[in-house]
């Protein structure tokens, strides 16, 4: 009995001490939010340092997406580079989980620390490729997928990628 009364009085004292502590509230629209650079917000498509699209339309992001909000169609240019014909993200479905970013083999799809995407019209939440593509490299400067991959495209044949050895001549007997 006495113990519990002391416990209650201690509670009162601890609450009273909070008179002098500062509030935790961040008054968001007035006070700026300090989001960490790896915050998972609005999704973008990045370009490589040469200004080419990084996305190779492999569909891995669409497969990884738990809410199926990504839709895309692969096409190919005259040099053999793959790129998406259209790339569509429905942000009214997107849960900003970042699975697409983890799945992407070319660092093309990335999440940014921006989350202010309110719209009055639901259809405006559907972002097309021209809304998603940015002009920069995002979080991975200096990465060119086709320069480290074995696929031959116009101006870069097999064996010419970084750290890639010449293709083996399968008709030769030499080791």
């Amino acid at each position: 009995m006495i113990e519990s009364i002391i416990s209650q009085l201690r509670t009162v004292w601890m609450i009273l001490k909070h008179t002098l502590t500062r509030w935790e509230t961040v008054q968001y629209p007035e006070e700026p939010l300090n989001l960490p650079p790896r915050y998972r917000g609005r999704i973008i498509l990045s370009r490589d340092p040469d200004g080419e699209e990084r996305c190779v339309a492999c569909n891995l992001c669409a497969v990884a997406c738990p809410v199926d909000c990504i839709a895309l169609q692969k096409t190919e240019d005259e040099y053999g580079r793959w790129y998406p014909e259209f790339f569509r993200i429905n942000f009214s479905r997107c849960i900003l989980c970042g699975m697409c970013e983890e799945a992407c083999p070319t660092y093309a799809i990335q999440l940014t620390p921006d989350f202010e995407m309110c719209e009055y019209n639901r259809q405006n939440m559907v972002y097309e490729k021209e809304n998603l593509l940015i002009d920069g490299v995002g979080k991975y400067p200096g990465y060119r997928f086709y320069h480290v991959a074995g696929k031959s495209i116009g101006g870069k044949d097999k064996g010419e990628a970084e750290n890639e050895s010449e293709p083996a001549d399968i008709r030769s007997l030499m080791p």
Binding site: V12, M14, I15, L16, H18, T19, T21, W23
Partner: protein, 322 residues
């Protein structure tokens, strides 16, 4: 002579209307103040959007409550349903009639002011009971039931806790009680009585931690589940009026009312003491959890009542022999 009586008449009306509007306005502002203070103690901000420091929320709340549909449930007992919140407000407002703000500023200086105050606050309990009963809703009924259980446990020692003060001052008049404290506040000579009266006062005004009739975590909103609009506002206002009334009573009975150093007017001292007690009430709300109602009853009957009786006995002995 004739002119003086007219002036006194006018002054008494000023005090009456000042009390009514001051109390109701104070109760409305207290809702905002409580939310801000709770925010301070919970490390958040509380309402700060409307007007300076968010005080405009009072007006916004008022407009909202006035424009709401004033619904009387078809399954309720309409007469009692309407009467209950009115009784809550009226009883509490009547209780303000005996509060002495300063030596000559009071609505009426009854020689049984203390009993009148106890009677009025006890009447306010009926509003909770009747409101819970008339709503014809199981949660409301449970709220009313708990209110009755609470009432039988604290009403007894609430009155008894003040008898020590009455013995020491030899009067039921609040003005005399304040005058009797000129050489020492009753909180020192009647400390047990003070503790018991504060507990009973919190229970009387249905404030946390003794808000069992309301208990929004268990009973939706308890006795006022079915109330909306202005009738709900009356219950709300009654509760906050009770807080102000009990606070000013504690200030009057135990902290020497208007007494204080001369550099400030007596009304100010009275107001400051009441304000401090109101802050204490809000601190209780911010910190102490709600007991079960059997715990409350056993606390009332097994701890508070014996404490009061011991206090009464000791005070009686001291008054007799000293």
């Amino acid at each position: 002579m004739e002119q003086e009586t007219v002036i006194q008449e006018v002054l008494s009306y000023v005090v009456i209307f000042g009390t009514i509007f001051g109390a109701i306005g104070g109760a409305a502002v207290l809702i905002w103040f409580e939310r801000r203070l709770l925010g301070l103690w919970q490390d958040r901000l509380g309402p700060n959007r409307v007007g300076p420091f968010g005080i405009g929320i009072v007006l916004a709340d008022l407009i909202k409550l006035l424009s709401k549909d004033d619904w009387i449930p078809p399954f309720s007992d309409p007469v009692v349903f309407i009467f209950a919140p009115t009784a809550a407000l009226m009883a509490m407002l009547l209780g303000f009639a005996v509060v002495p703000y300063a030596p000559d500023i009071h609505v009426i200086d009854l020689n049984i002011a203390l009993l009148f105050f106890l009677g009025m606050t006890s009447l306010a309990v009926y509003s909770v009971l009747l409101g819970g009963l008339a709503s014809n809703n199981k949660y409301s009924l449970l709220g009313g039931l708990r209110s009755a259980a609470q009432m039988v446990s604290y009403e007894v020692f609430m009155g008894l806790s003040l008898m020590g003060v009455v013995m020491l001052s030899g009067s039921f008049s609040l003005t005399d009680i304040v005058r009797a404290q000129e050489d020492g506040w009753f909180i020192f000579s009647q400390f047990l009585g003070f503790i018991v009266f504060v507990v009973a006062g919190i229970a009387e005004s249905h404030r946390l931690p003794f808000d069992l009739p309301e208990a929004e975590h268990e009973l939706v909103a308890g006795f006022h589940t079915e109330y909306s609009g202005m009738k709900f506002a009356m219950f709300m206002l009654g509760e906050y009026l009770a807080v102000i009334l009990i606070s000013s009573m504690i200030a009057t009975i135990f902290f020497g009312g208007w007494l204080g150093p001369d550099f400030l007017p007596p009304v100010f001292w009275f107001g400051m003491k009441s304000f401090a007690v109101i802050c204490f009430f809000i601190l209780m709300r911010a910190s102490i959890p709600r007991p079960r109602y059997d715990q409350l009853m056993s606390l009332g009957w097994k701890v508070m009542l014996p404490l009061t009786l011991v206090n009464l006995l000791v005070t009686g002995a001291v008054v007799l022999w000293a």
